[in-house]
Symmetry: C2
Subunit: 400 residues, 2 copies
């Protein structure tokens, strides 16, 4: 009799965004004349950069001609034409990586969960709270124990290592989803030192690195001395270049990174991951890889920067409103997310309902990201200038 993996039965059934969708549907059914301004979900809204569109079309044409058709990619880990661009981009950001350490994939989400597969179920995983729900859910699926590290207003929503706590895997995200907080180089160095001391591995989610404007802040953990022996980095073009529906990300695994067998032998994390992917992944669509290559061209870089600037202007509008109203917040300076305290001691869900019912502005209740998200609220900068300004005008009127 086929048995289900019991770990899956431990998952919470009601996913945050399902509950939100339910409440929005109910509101709109009762109030068809009141359009919503959605500032909740973290999806981009500006189109793909023109350079990427053109490159994808050119590659599609190549696929239609026998002489230039491409079938299976040899390695399934990404074409060199793209990995060369990623390597150069990392070098600009102060991180030296080699081509074989770059693994192109269909978006950071897949690997952020799947990477856990290659590590023993006996490892304990440290996850900051609040956090992107995928880290928690995929850790539960993998049957590993979780320790939460509190990210609160006291530490600027940046959890730091505690040497009294032992763990073997650590999920960090900077710029952070949902809080928008960004680790400094000194703070990341504290995590790197801790991980090296404990022989733990940091899974560093850099999906929002392109939104960092303060040049003193690290865009990659690979720029931190010591990271090559303790860190994996996940990155993505989803937010950087509007690839949420086009699908391309990449994982960096340094050659020096080791895990240990039961009898204490060192095992290469990169080689183990390559072995996994060899049996479970067949590479990213060739035209999508060409589109990604074009993102890193001179034209592509200018086009994505214009989009990021557009979103960051929205972030500024939202931050300004928080400052005008004296609402505590993080993010918005080097991140597309603004994480703000619900006023008057409201819970995040109460504030969600309040904004929805009174002014039809939709955000995300902090409770959906963990216990420490209670009483906090996430707004995103991915709507239009017009809608963002209108929403903040309504918020100012409602709360002042």
């Amino acid at each position: 009799m086929i048995k289900i993996n019991e770990n899956f039965l431990k998952l919470k059934q009601n996913y945050l965004f399902i509950e939100i969708a339910k409440r929005l549907k109910a509101f709109s059914a009762e109030n068809p004349d009141k359009p919503l301004i959605r500032m909740g979900i973290g999806d981009v809204t500006l189109p793909l950069p023109a350079a990427a569109v053109e490159a994808m079309k050119k590659a599609a044409d190549e696929m239609g001609v026998k002489e230039t058709f491409r079938g299976y990619e040899d390695t399934g880990r990404g074409y060199d034409f793209l990995k060369e661009k990623i390597k150069a981009y990392y070098n600009e950001n102060g991180a030296e990586i080699s081509l074989d350490e770059i693994l192109v994939n269909d978006g950071a989400k897949s690997d952020s969960g799947n990477i856990s597969d290659i590590f023993s179920e006996s490892n304990t995983v440290l996850i900051t709270d609040p956090a992107y729900p995928v880290y928690v859910d995929s850790t539960i699926m993998a049957g590993k124990q979780i320790i939460f590290a509190a990210a609160t207003s006291e530490n600027g929503f940046k959890a730091l290592p505690d040497y009294n706590i032992d763990c073997e895997m650590i999920y960090l995200c900077s710029p952070n989803n949902p809080t928008g907080s960004v680790y400094t180089a000194e703070e990341l160095k504290m995590w790197v030192d801790y991980a090296n001391e404990k022989h733990a591995i940091i899974i560093f989610d850099a999906a929002y690195e392109a939104f960092i404007r303060d040049k003193s802040l690290p865009r990659s953990i690979m720029a931190i001395p010591g990271a090559r022996t303790c860190a994996v980095e996940l990155c993505s073009l989803s937010k950087t270049a509007g690839f949420t529906g086009t699908r391309l990300g990449y994982t960096i695994i340094p050659n020096e990174l080791m895990a240990y067998s039961e009898n204490g032998e060192k095992v290469s994390v990169l080689k183990t991951w390559i072995r996994r992917q060899g049996s479970k992944f067949n590479g990213v669509s060739y035209p999508v890889q060409r589109a990604a290559e074009a993102v890193f061209s001179t034209d592509g870089r200018a086009q994505i920067q214009a989009n990021i600037d557009y979103y960051m202007k929205n972030a500024e509008i939202i931050s300004n409103t928080c400052e005008t109203l004296n609402i505590p917040y993080t993010g918005g300076k080097n991140s597309p997310y603004i994480w703000l305290k619900a006023p008057n001691g409201m819970s995040g869900w109460d504030f969600f309902d309040y904004l929805l019912n009174e002014i039809q502005v939709v955000g995300t209740p902090g409770e959906g990201f963990g216990e420490n998200g209670g009483g906090w609220f996430r707004l995103t900068s991915f709507n239009t200038h017009e809608n963002t300004a209108e929403a903040m005008k309504r918020v100012e009127k409602l709360l002042s």
Copy 2:
């Protein structure tokens, strides 16, 4: 101290195609004047159908315009425009499935390994021998026990169920890779009856269904009565439509399919899989989904049929050579693979070296697919007519 998942250490290190590549490289280095005719690797060579290229380009253009841009797909399980086409295609093939039972993915390989995640490590997995190596490797990674079911010349390389053997998961592939054998409806019904009796789940790989020309043979296990309570089907456009570098497949999981919790409660396999994918997958690139939709259009269907007919003519050339030489073989009639007995009691590897050294024809030694592959050899029909005919002329001369 971070521990590796010990299951990964149990994998064999030398993967079949790596060893082949090594031998070919050595030969070509010593014999630069002798070009190879490659009939080993199962990759297609004809370009994408024009309908798919045009659809992808149109979708790329849509992605470059704000009004038609698409970000995250709502469900990440495939757009209805594509699922409607797949459903209609299945109906043609005698299988009734609903849209919510279709899960679009980046190719059959990912799900064929990942599906194991949602079932308990305690389940035993039955795999036919020989088989596509991914089934074995991903089962070892998942820590599950394997039972092999012998597919030999005695049973036409079609293993059938043995009620004395208990198992909980069963990998079947028909038309088979590597042997090209195809189960009849009666034989598949025997597996379905066995699985229902044992409360086991069949993972049915239908990646080569489009090569079936005999209309009496089933193209989908979902066309077999009883399959909806015991089977998952994996399918792909890789071979059907030349998508090996474009990447799109789909998995069918019937609503009725159940697994069991430790305390005997029924758990929906579809719902559990959806929960997994919700945390570990974000859907297939929109332009790729549009290209796939176009494959199922009237023009697309005609274009892919022309390609399949081209390959099947090659299969016929190879089969004819086997018949002329009185070499026992399977496949080639309803499959792009021809599985033949190495002559004179040679091993598959000996025959590989013999063909390589004497006539520069490259195939795949059967040993790479399992113990029962010993002494057998796989040729594929994905080269050109000219090369296939030339290779078979050389084989006939060499062996007669």
